[in-house]
Amino acid sequence: MGGLTGVMGAKPVPGASATPSRWRTPAGRLSRGATLLLGLALVLLAMVWGAASGAYAIAPAQLPGIAWDGIRSLWGGDVQTGPEHLVFLNIRLPRLLMGVAAGAGLGLAGALMQGLFRNPLADPGLIGVSSGAALAAGITIVLGGMYLPWLPRHLGSWALVAMAFGGGLAVTAVVYVLGQVQGTTRIGLMLLAGIAINALAGAGLGFLSFVSTDEQLRNLQMWLLGSLGASRWSAVALVWAAVAVSAAAALALARPLNAIALGEAQANLLGVAVEKTKRRAVMVAALAVGAVTATTGIIGFIGLVAPHWVRLIAGPDHRVVLPGSALLGAALVVSADAVARTIVKPAELPLGVLTAFIGVPLFLAMLRQFRSKV
């Protein structure tokens, strides 16, 4: 296999290697179609599991009927309602869909960042979007009542979401600008700027927790642990819109990122608009992670691990790593939330704690199994 044709997306030559099939590449990895089908199946499985589990007892046999009633009510159907309908359609279902969007956004952004930085350790936090959102959320929680009292008057409970989203984008813009040298983005410089700005945001959060009251401190801590608990339909619609736009834009970056994987000089020679690709990758990741983090708080680990997992089974082609990471991220977050909602019911665990508890052991097991390929 010629490296360039493979990277640029030409079909593998049939019979060039040992027993390639629809499901296996010549290198023995899962093909793109097989990986994405597997990912989709995992998301659906996780969603069925998530829909069927919860503190409020709803017989699984009732669920299709309730879901159908919800769909019919969209078109003005006459619908039987009861407590099960309320709990499922107003609480569990929006939360489930928020989990899908949040996991997809984080997985996608992780794959973009690892492709952009050409470094498997990269995660969306590196461009400052998470720490920026956290800092802005901290400012809103701790200082908002005193210095921004007009904010909740105009935005209600959206004040925190809007501030966190704005903070994530603003800090990302600062990191991006700091990484510029004479109109080009130096990836190494941006990485260092991101680390420095993250440290600054961490110091800001430390200061905020020092001046906060007991109540504000607890609220801030809870926000930093992440939760899908505040998923209402309006928030679900906004996050889905942001993640869908990000996903479409990210898939268009798959081939340019494949070329950049060979080095920026080679990518230039291949006719790839390297600067534009880098800028877009940063913008898309910031949009996805900013929207997700602003509504759910910090959900760690997904953006780092989902792309690795996909690469282990399907290889490094971004045309599979990007959508595969989104699917795997969605499946991971939905499953983790199903556990978070039920393991200490009627209370619930913070999601950020569980994504790490569930994901890390699975990831380490995977690393051991595929030691030779990493």
Partner: protein
């Protein structure tokens, strides 16, 4: 929460309202119409409110409490809905309550909205750290449990206790200079203005040695020396967390305070001391008398 039908028109609002608001509007309206006075199933999200429920002998209505409901001991055996600022809508609704009582600390707000939309009455008492807060808590529990007469009786009893404690405090010749230390977790912090502890200190006829800042802050040895408290107040849980009274007095920040010479320490159980519930008169009295003893 009763079963009802939503009309075609209400159903049509679904998409528009669900983008702008938080819930399916038809469902929410249908369910809240059936609320009746006097809850059959009650969830309490505050230790003080839970105490009142037991005092009104309404504990058979109690189907769940939060993690701060530790007194009386029977309350610890009820289903626990978790930490009051991080509630789970579905978890709470799984207890099928028809009323929830809480202080303004309960949250997040979206979860409270979802609970209200499911037709559950949510009563919030503002946390103001004063006697009126205690009175309001008794009234709210009386109303929500349908035990207004018993609540009035309890209020009269508490009022009598409170005025006798206040008269006792007013007679004192001397106001001890005290410092409240919060040490449940990590490094000890001291209570400034605007805290529950500060309100309690003033009710007990003492002077807070800290008047320069709001809220809880870690205090250095030098600042502690200049604050010069004569008596230190802590919770029994806080002293346990630091490894007992002997270990507490070994802390270097305390060595330069007047309290250190006599090892003047007053401890009370945390929910008793800071709960602002029906045991407030006894907490104030205990604090007042024990602080005075140390400076006598």
């Amino acid at each position: 929460m009763s079963t009802a039908r939503i009309s075609r028109r209400q159903g049509l609002q679904w998409l528009g309202a669900s983008v702008a608001g938080t819930a399916l509007p038809g469902l929410a309206q249908a369910a809240s119409a059936a609320a009746a006075p006097g809850a059959k199933r009650l969830v309490s999200l505050s230790g003080a409110l839970t105490e009142v429920v037991y005092l009104l002998n309404a504990q058979n209505l109690l189907v769940g409490t939060d993690t701060t409901s530790l007194f009386p001991e029977a309350a610890q055996k009820t289903a626990k809905v978790g930490y009051v600022r991080q509630l789970s809508a579905e978890g709470l609704l799984s207890l099928k309550p028809d009323a929830v009582i809480a202080t303004s600390e309960a949250g997040p707000p979206v979860v409270l909205d979802q609970i209200r939309q499911a037709g559950v009455r949510v009563s919030l008492v503002a946390a103001r750290h004063n006697w009126a807060e205690v009175q309001e808590k008794v009234k709210v529990v009386g109303r929500e449990t349908g035990r207004m007469a018993e609540a009035d009786q309890l209020l009269a009893q508490l009022e009598a206790q409170w005025s006798s404690v206040q008269a006792q405090v007013a007679k004192a010749q001397r106001k001890p200079r005290v410092l409240f230390v919060l040490s449940h977790s990590g490094s000890p912090q001291v209570a400034g203005k605007g805290t529950a502890a500060n309100a309690l200190i003033q009710y007990a006829g003492c002077v807070n040695a800290i008047d320069q800042f709001d809220g809880y802050k870690p205090l250095t040895a030098e600042a502690m020396a200049s604050a010069a408290p004569e008596v230190i107040i802590n919770t029994t849980q806080g002293i346990e967390a630091l490894g007992g009274e002997a270990a507490f007095w070994k802390r270097p920040e305390l060595a330069l305070t007047p309290a250190f010479a006599k090892k003047a320490l007053v401890t009370l159980e945390a929910s008793h001391l800071l709960g602002f519930g029906p045991r407030l008169p006894s907490a104030v009295q205990a604090l007042h008398m024990r602080a005075l003893q140390w400076v006598a």
